[in-house]
């Protein structure tokens, strides 16, 4: 204890240090924890608390090759179970552990942003897509021969399927580096702010807070320094639009961040990139360096005196809840990614209690386009309530999964037609935390005043079982809850038990009523958006698909039997009968 710590580390660097330790040894050793705890002057348990929060950090050896197979709902419907079995057969290991030889670590993980190419897996964080049993056998054989995952991983195409015609395309149009930043030479920070406000741009991450107001609040706050964060922690299952934006137009995002820095008076930008997108890290890093060389980042950008802005990358470590902005702030500060109490906006007390702007990748890209094209151009697309365009990640049962840039106001039916959906039946808009709709609602418009979407549409055909979908969502939320507030931590767990009754064909109408009332309690009392929205799909599905639930609910008029089967309850004892 009296030794001078060999390591110098600040708390926000903790995640980076843990990553480097894990990359070196395959897991985080006790020595690494000692080193952090000594360098930071915190107890070991605090470091353990941080490590155990993130599901990509391991405290045990995680195998020479670490395989993360996506268990999201789309993956399940595309053959997850067969692929999982194939991995187990080929490697000799079992999932959520390491095989006896220590070579293969097999883990399930939540959506990895490749829903257009499911089933998909990450092997040592390199993407492998459109998996099937044959392909898995082939991959494992090659890895056994000593080929590295980097050499055989799959390319990740952007799958841009549709863009609005002509000048109406906003995001996915021709791009040259510096195209938006060049406009700043003629604009003061105040006019940039006015332009963004006039465009009516809202946050595209799902909360739809007016971006101009957010930037203005941050600019007006007397505290400094101010921070700009780009939320690239796209974790909502079925969403992959930010992946495509960062892959196709990484520069546009950087320009958007720099514009935000210019408008609010900040020179520090950080991208919080989800660990599932580690394979994109080098590309983003190169783009940042390229921008620095072109004087699009750094000091006196574009020759504008005093306009300094630089960007660094921060890698997450696996936690859906870190997409919630205050949880992300905690994660960036090197803590457990638990959402904060909503006492202050991040623009008042954000990163390190300083004024902070957090926007999503798509929002920054749209902001850059607004400065490039002008708010008037932007206002000509979309609807009066929601001007502009929106990127949708379409996946599930359709022939053309991928990215669709749509004008706000497009109907669900148009999207289903464009993507050549197969007998659509159950459509999940905005991910598991969003809204599910039946075909009766297919003419609803994707817009602020009707059906909002953060950017995902998952299509399920008639052959999919609704209960399976809902149980997948429930498992996801149960696993991804931060565990801080009672209704989310316990509520999702309790709902899982209840849904098991439905699956065992033991549920009564009273169980349907219970789910409705318990879900509403969660919506009312949870601490953050995760818990508040976790029961959404379940509640709506029961309301919108009454026929389905009638068939699986046991209409028992007697008071003698409540979801209990004596035959099942004595099954375990009966094995002692011989």
């Amino acid at each position: 204890m009296n030794n001078k710590p060999a390591l110098t580390l600040t708390r926000p660097e903790l995640l980076d240090y843990l990553w480097s330790a894990q990359n070196e040894h395959g897991y985080i050793r006790s020595e690494d924890i000692d080193a952090c705890s000594n360098a930071l002057g915190i107890s070991r348990i605090e470091v353990e608390g941080v490590i155990s929060f993130y599901h990509f950090f391991h405290r045990q050896p995680s195998g020479e090759f670490t395989i993360y197979l996506n268990n999201s709902v789309v993956s399940e419907s595309k053959g997850f179970a067969r692929v999982k079995e194939a991995f187990e057969m080929a490697t000799g290991g079992t999932f959520n552990g390491v095989d006896p030889s220590g070579q293969w670590g097999l883990f399930e993980t939540a959506c990895i942003g490749l829903s257009d190419m499911e089933p998909a897996a990450l092997i040592d964080f390199y993407p492998f897509t459109n998996l099937n049993s044959l392909k898995v056998r082939d991959i494992v054989a090659k890895l056994k021969q000593g080929v590295s995952p980097a050499e055989i991983c799959d390319p990740v195409p952007d799958h841009i399927r549709a863009v609005p015609e002509g000048e109406k395309a906003i995001l996915l149009r021709h791009y040259d580096p510096g195209i938006a930043l060049a406009k700043l030479c003629d604009l003061t920070p105040q006019t940039v702010l006015e332009e963004i406000k006039r465009s009516g741009l809202r946050g595209m991450g799902g909360a739809f807070f007016p971006t101009g107001l957010k930037w203005e609040a941050c600019r007006k706050d007397p505290e400094s320094p101010k921070y700009i964060f780009c939320n690239a922690d796209e974790g909502e299952p079925g969403t992959f639009k930010d992946r495509v934006l960062m892959n196709a137009l990484p520069g546009l995002m950087l320009e958007g961040m720099a514009i935000a820095g210019y408008a609010v008076g900040s020179s520090i930008g950080t991208i919080y990139l989800r660990a599932e997108y580690t394979w994109m890290k080098d590309k983003l890093q190169h783009t940042i360096e390229h921008f620095r060389k072109m004087n699009l980042l750094g000091k006196n950008i574009c020759g504008i005196e005093g306009f300094d802005f630089d960007i660094r990358l921060q890698l997450g470590a696996g936690a859906y809840v870190c997409g919630e902005e205050t949880a992300m702030l905690n994660s960036l500060e090197g803590k457990r990614g638990e959402p904060r109490n909503k006492r202050f906006y991040p623009t008042e007390r954000g990163y390190m209690q300083k004024p902070t702007v957090i926007n999503n990748v798509e929002t920054f890209c749209a902001a850059a386009r607004i400065i490039q094209l002008g708010a008037d151009h932007y206002l000509q697309t979309g609807t009066p309530a929601s001007p502009g365009t929106k990127l949708l990640s379409v996946s599930g049962d359709c022939r053309l999964p991928g990215i669709y840039e749509i004008e706000w106001g497009t109907t669900v039916r148009e999207i289903l037609e464009q993507s050549e959906a197969d007998r659509p039946y159950f459509i999940q808009v905005s991910g598991p935390s969003g809204e599910c709709i039946s075909m009766d609602e297919a003419d609803r418009k994707i817009s602020m005043d009707d059906l909002v979407s953060e950017g995902s549409i998952m299509i399920f055909s008639r052959s999919r079982d609704i209960l399976n979908i809902l149980r997948n969502y429930n498992r996801f939320f149960k696993h991804e809850s931060c565990g801080l507030c009672t209704p989310c931590r316990a509520g999702n767990f309790i709902l899982e038990k209840k849904l098991a009754l439905f699956a065992d064909k033991l549920a009564l109408q009273s169980d349907v009523d219970d789910v409705q009332s318990w879900g509403k309690i969660m919506q009312l009392t949870c601490r953050c958006g995760l818990g508040k929205t976790a029961p959404n799909a379940l509640l709506m599905a029961q309301q919108k698909f009454p026929d389905y639930f009638e068939t699986i609910v046991n209409a028992n008029p007697e008071r003698l039997n409540k979801g209990f089967s004596l035959k099942e309850a004595v099954r375990e004892y009966d094995r002692f009968s011989s």
Binding site: R343, C482, W518
Partner: protein, 439 residues
């Protein structure tokens, strides 16, 4: 714990500015004048408006906002009261049906999520969770108990971490530090796996008093200090006698005996007959009892079979075997009103301690691998005359509909007596706070 000191030192300063810092807010229609910036839970409770709270602890700043038991509507928006500072013109609703039900549900969730065996807990009677249950008149949880297997950590030098009882309020994480500022506790994992981790090294560096303070900081019995869990007798514990909501001394209501005679049947399933013994503790009122009820099938009179349809059935104990299930179903058929009395009938109680462990393991441990069993000569009893053992102990209302619940392990004799009287007379139940217990 230095934060606590600075707060109390600041009181003199506060008094000086009191006059020009006054604001008016409305809670449940009542106008209240107070200083700006004070905590809403405190302001409400001082003014006779009870807002239940669990994680909230006066000296922790910023407030934790984890348990959500104090959920209210502030200017229309739902959120925890403990994280709100009062402002001028604030309109607060605390006692709508929606909010009362939601708050009760959260306390129920805590009971369902943890493994809270009150009769065996040293903190019983001094436990904030139990206290909230009493204040809300919580007789049972609407949620199924999840019976997750949790550890009891005996490794720390001075403390015992009883993870079964932890409600993850975050108090210890935010407030217990060594003298050089190192956290002794931290949350580990996440989701329903979340638990409080304790740092053995730092724990050993706490002084005796700091360790005891940590135990008292814990709202339940999750943090215990060895040798310090002194049980006090009933009546002498923190939450035994006096409700927080009604400060007036309790007056036993006048009860007139109903004229009409009703028939009652009773049974003990997976219980210990303790509830029946408690029933006999009504002493002289037993004479009243035989005047107002006719006992049918019951162990008290040894009548084995129902002779006719009964008005009221009292069930002690949950269901641990197939016979219990059959008897319970017979009671449901033969009794118009079915009452679960005692914790075992309500949610499983002490016998359900086995629910966290698979049945096979329990039986193997008891009959095959136990220290007195002879190798190759032992077996798990199995015979057609023996009732089959269920995979877990079920609460009665998991199997049939139950109409009323009388909590307690065992329930207080007066509690049973008054409940039976109210049922016979068809009147609403009125039980005193001091008679309402889980242990």
């Amino acid at each position: 714990m230095s934060k606590a000191k600075t707060k109390s030192n600041g009181k003199a300063g506060k008094a000086a500015t009191r006059a020009n810092n006054l604001i008016t807010l409305t809670i449940d229609g009542k106008e209240i004048e107070t200083e700006a910036g004070r905590n809403l839970v405190q302001v409400a409770n001082e003014n006779g408006i009870f807002i239940p709270s669990l994680c909230y602890f006066e000296n922790i700043e910023p407030p934790l906002g984890t348990c959500r038991v104090c959920t209210c509507r502030v200017n229309g928006a739902a959120g925890p009261a403990c994280t709100e500072s009062v402002k001028d013109g604030m309109v607060v609703e605390t006692n709508t049906d929606e909010l009362k039900d939601a708050r009760k549900a959260i306390v129920e969730m805590m009971f369902s999520e943890g493994n809270h065996f009150c009769p065996g807990c040293q903190k019983s009677g001094d436990c904030d969770l139990q206290h909230m249950g009493y204040e809300m008149g919580l007789t049972q949880s609407r949620f199924p108990h999840v019976f997750k297997d949790r550890l009891i950590d005996f490794n720390p030098r001075r403390m015992i971490m009883e993870h079964n009882r932890c409600i993850k309020c975050l108090r210890c994480v935010k407030e217990v530090f060594t003298d050089d500022g190192k956290a002794v506790f931290s949350f580990r994992y996440r989701g329903n796996e979340t638990r409080v981790g304790i740092d053995y090294v730092e724990e050993a560096r706490l002084s005796e008093q700091q360790a005891i303070d940590a135990m008292h900081l814990c709202p339940t019995g999750a943090i215990m200090v060895r040798g310090e869990g002194r049980a006090r007798p009933f009546g002498a514990r923190r939450f035994d006698m006096q409700s927080m909501q009604d400060k007036a001394p309790e007056i036993d209501p006048e009860i007139t005996l109903p004229a009409e005679k009703k028939s009652i049947a009773t049974i003990s399933l997976a219980g210990c007959f303790g509830c029946h013994m408690s029933l006999l503790d009504i002493d002289l009122k037993l004479i009243d009892l035989v005047n107002i009820v006719e006992l049918n099938k019951s162990p008290l009179n040894d009548i084995k079979e129902f002779t006719h349809q009964c008005d009221i059935g009292l069930i002690e104990g949950g269901c641990c075997n197939a016979e219990n299930v059959e008897v319970l179903r017979e009671f449901r058929r033969k009794c118009d009103v079915l009452v679960a009395f005692g914790e075992c009938a309500i949610w499983g109680g002490v016998p359900s301690m086995r629910n966290t462990i698979p049945l096979g393991e329990c039986l193997e441990e008891a009959y095959l691998n136990c220290i007195t069993s002879m190798p190759d000569e032992c077996m798990v009893p199995y015979h057609e005359d023996l009732p089959k053992i269920l995979d877990k102990v079920y609460a009665c209302n998991e199997i049939v509909d139950i109409d009323y619940f009388i909590p307690g392990c065992p329930p207080d004799a007066n509690h049973i007596w008054k409940s039976v009287l109210s049922l016979v007379a068809g009147k609403p139940l009125s039980v005193l706070y001091s008679e309402f217990k889980y242990d």
